[in-house]
Subunit: 168 residues, 2 copies
């Protein structure tokens, strides 16, 4: 398999994977492209390589920067902005986990706290089942929060060696 073909395959699959994870296809493709690009790229490079419009590149790059997955790079004596992606997949993963926790887990847990204040007789099975579900989610969320916190703070080699020693 030729490099150009392999790159296409990778970009396209990474994009499809994104859609299964609530990430838009193009954003995942831009990320994929930057991950396999040795040097930083401009918006025009990305437009050309992925065949997408300037506006599209711009918006998705901005989102990727918000997610902390892509950085602007200033190149000496160049007017244009260049972009580059973190290539260490462990860092990519922990960054995504950190963001998703902040954007999704934290607000969800806040809501669960509110919902657990629902009024009504706890002997009523409707109320009981509701409260049990909410409380299960709260407990689960608290544990997940703890574990993800440690995961994100630790570095790869420590985490994997310790965890795997334990789990094997």
């Amino acid at each position: 398999m030729k490099l150009s073909e392999a790159r296409q395959q990778f970009i396209s699959t990474w994009g499809a994977m994104g859609t299964h994870w609530g990430i838009n296809r193009t954003m995942a493709q831009v990320h994929a492209l930057l991950m396999i690009s040795p040097d930083p790229l401009t918006q025009d490079d990305i437009m050309a390589q992925l065949n997408i419009s300037r506006g599209n590149v711009n918006m998705n790059i901005r989102d990727l920067i918000d997610w902390g997955l892509v950085d602007r790079v200033l190149i000496q004596g160049e007017r244009k902005e260049y972009f580059t992606a973190e290539k260490d997949i462990w860092k990519v993963a922990t960054q995504i986990i950190k963001e998703r926790k902040r954007r999704e887990l934290d607000p969800m847990m806040k809501l669960m706290d509110q919902l657990s204040k629902v009024e009504g007789d706890k002997k009523d099975k409707e109320v009981k089942t509701f409260l049990e579900t909410i409380s299960g989610i709260k407990k689960f969320g608290a544990h997940a929060d703890d574990m993800l916190g440690v995961l994100v703070k630790s570095d790869e080699s420590w985490f994997l060696s310790t965890a795997l020693k334990l789990f094997k």
Copy 2:
């Protein structure tokens, strides 16, 4: 807050959360409804409670069954089918992890194996960066696979107590 209002809130938020995770809103809502319902429901119950069509209920229920999150229940002397969801959130989570691993991680790793056979000079920086990215993903995937395997096989109390002891 009244139970009816809290239920609505929960269903709606669980649905919105689904969309952030590549799950369609309605499927997540049906799941939410079943989780907080003490007794099994029929397709008509779900249609009524979520205001959606029969076809929609049918398709999403089927998907939920495929994911192993919902079961058909036969009720003595009833013609209609009833449906119920697993209410233990730990089991829900491990089931989802198991399925996503099978559907997404496994095929992705198979592809990485293929892509790592790309031809070309490893001194070429395009080739080099590509191969490094692929190999990073492969290593990461293998570790994730091991850990998720243990997570799924273990039961909640064992996993959480062991993991938290280690990580705190």
